[in-house]
């Protein structure tokens, strides 16, 4: 159990924010989180971002965002771990507060994906892969997802349509989340015939990239009790890594880092699978949702997809996932995604999730992955 609690949450909607700059997006989320925590200063800022360099021509976000948010002078740095940056930044904040070096820390995930369109964006996303041995051959994150999905189908005797339940669930939840990028419901029978991104991954399988920012403020447990009516405890927090390229993994269909970080975070929190009421996982591709459920331990190897088929991942199911739409429907704002997950799980535990509420949720887990699990960050939150 860590000695760190969440006292403030903020987020923007996820969409193509044509009119809004990177710094403004970050500020909107920070402003909301400061208001939510009833404070106006923090001891440090951890910015989660993946692609501001290649897509916006902007790095050095720590100083930029501290300055623009009226928090000049404060300690502020960027944390980058591909699309696990958000979880990784929260992990740094947890360590800072747990150690006593900071009393209050702000985590803001921000991503501006839509300043460019088409192949430059695909190239930027591919920066998370191995430049010398994957990207040079034309690999993309979607192609990595596709290679895993085809192998999964081959080894476990599964069809493309068997993955539909993940996207149908995500869109059903996104449809009632006012902040989601996609609010349309998805028909399972349309899933397999959607346009291809990288065969067999289709547009209905791959999560869309979008712009957005989310922020979380943490402080020590004792202080949190006096500051806000419903502090949320960060019960467990862990990062693990795996080989950068999937081709170097002895067991390609096993997300070793996802398993390790989940096991460490759950052990620290002292919780078992039955205790977890809500799970936000990294459904950038449906096969990653299946593999994450297997690695975390909610399904046997090769059977993660069955939880989607059997309706066990719905808000009333055994293990609700993607409760605000997940990456698939809420949208995947890269380095901000891991912070969105934390905001969403915390809202579930506060009972503030509105139409997305999982009733009676008291313990939740969030896990984000950098590319196909080269980095995995897991947090367990409790009421």
């Amino acid at each position: 159990m860590t000695n760190v609690s969440i006292i403030g949450l903020g987020q923007t909607d996820v969409k193509e924010h044509w009119q809004t700059s990177l710094r403004h997006l970050a500020w909107y989320a920070i402003e909301a989180a400061l208001d939510n925590a009833h404070i106006n200063k923090v001891d440090g800022i951890f910015v989660a971002n993946m692609l501001a360099g290649p897509l916006s021509g902007q790095q050095h976000l720590g100083a930029l965002i501290a300055d623009f948010s009226g928090l000049r002078g404060v300690e502020a740095v960027t944390v980058e771990a591909a699309d696990a940056s958000g979880g990784a930044a929260l992990r740094q904040a947890v360590m800072a507060v747990q150690s006593g070096l900071m009393e209050t820390a702000l985590v803001v995930g921000v991503e501006k994906m839509t300043d460019l369109v088409g192949s430059p964006v695909t190239s930027a996303l591919a920066l998370a892969l191995d430049a010398d041995y994957e990207t040079v051959h034309g690999m993309t994150p979607a192609a990595v997802g596709a290679l895993l999905m085809r192998r999964y189908m081959y080894e476990y005797g599964v069809q493309v349509a068997d993955f539909a339940g993940f996207s149908v669930n995500a869109h059903a939840n996104g449809a009632v989340n006012p902040l989601a990028m996609f609010r349309n419901k998805l028909r399972a029978d349309r899933f397999a015939s959607a346009p291809l991104v990288a065969d067999p991954v289709t547009l209905f399988d791959a999560a869309p990239t979008g712009d957005g920012a989310a922020a979380v403020i943490v402080t020590n447990y004792e202080r949190a009790q006096d500051m806000v009516p419903q502090p949320i405890r960060i019960a467990g927090s862990a990062i693990a890594t795996d080989t950068l390229a999937i081709h170097d993994r002895k067991e390609m269909l096993w997300l070793a880092a996802a398993q390790k970080s989940a096991a460490r975070a759950m052990a620290a929190a002292g919780v078992s699978h039955d205790d977890i009421d809500v799970l936000e996982l990294h459904d950038a591709f449906t096969v990653l949702a299946a593999l994450s459920l297997e690695a975390i331990g909610f399904a046997e190897r090769g059977e993660g997809w069955k939880l989607a088929r059997d309706g066990e991942i719905g808000r009333n199911g055994r293990i609700p996932i993607s409760t605000f739409g997940g990456l698939k429907a809420r949208g995947n704002p890269g380095g901000a995604t891991g912070v969105y997950q934390i905001v969403e799980v915390a809202r579930q535990l506060r009972g503030e999730a509105g139409d997305n509420q999982v009733s009676g949720a008291t313990i939740g887990m969030a896990q984000c992955l950098g590319s196909a699990g080269a980095t995995a960050v897991t947090h367990v939150l409790s009421k």
């Binding site: 192949s119 040079v136 051959h137 034309g138 993309t140 085809r150 081709h247």
Partner: protein, 133 residues
């Protein structure tokens, strides 16, 4: 600069030169100097035969910069006969013939044109293994 970034990989790109572990004999490609199996030093060079089979494959429709002109193209994970799996494009193969387990062999082809100077990058791709006479 871009040229040296590619030039220093010529032995891997043109000849599939990897490494072998002094302790357990595991073959490594790409070379990484530390054995994936036992973490012992693995610096002895080893030239792979370039023969293997398809472990998985995909056809890419949404291509990154530098590849858009080739899309759709097919990328595979190829399991080399010595053990390692490499990521590479497939060439000279009909999509209908593709299958997991298909025997393939390495060939050298143009990978893409790179950067503003238009440097052409060559390297390994894999094609269906030609039948022995």
């Amino acid at each position: 600069m871009e040229v040296s970034r590619h030039w220093r990989l010529n032995e891997q790109r043109y000849a599939l030169i990897g490494e072998t572990c002094d302790s357990c004999g595991t073959k490594l490609f790409p070379p990484r100097d530390v054995c994936l199996e036992c973490e012992a030093p693995a610096k002895e060079l080893y030239t792979f035969t370039g023969v293997g089979e398809i472990y998985s494959y995909t056809t890419v429709y949404e291509a990154p910069a530098g590849f858009a002109e080739y899309a759709p193209y097919t990328v595979a994970l190829v399991k080399l006969e010595e053990g390692p799996v490499v990521t590479a494009q497939l060439t000279d193969v009909a999509k209908a013939d593709l299958h997991i387990g298909m025997k393939v062999e390495m060939v050298t082809r143009k990978l893409r044109t790179d950067g503003s100077e238009g440097m052409i990058i060559y390297g390994y791709k894999f094609r269906p293994q030609l039948e022995m006479a």
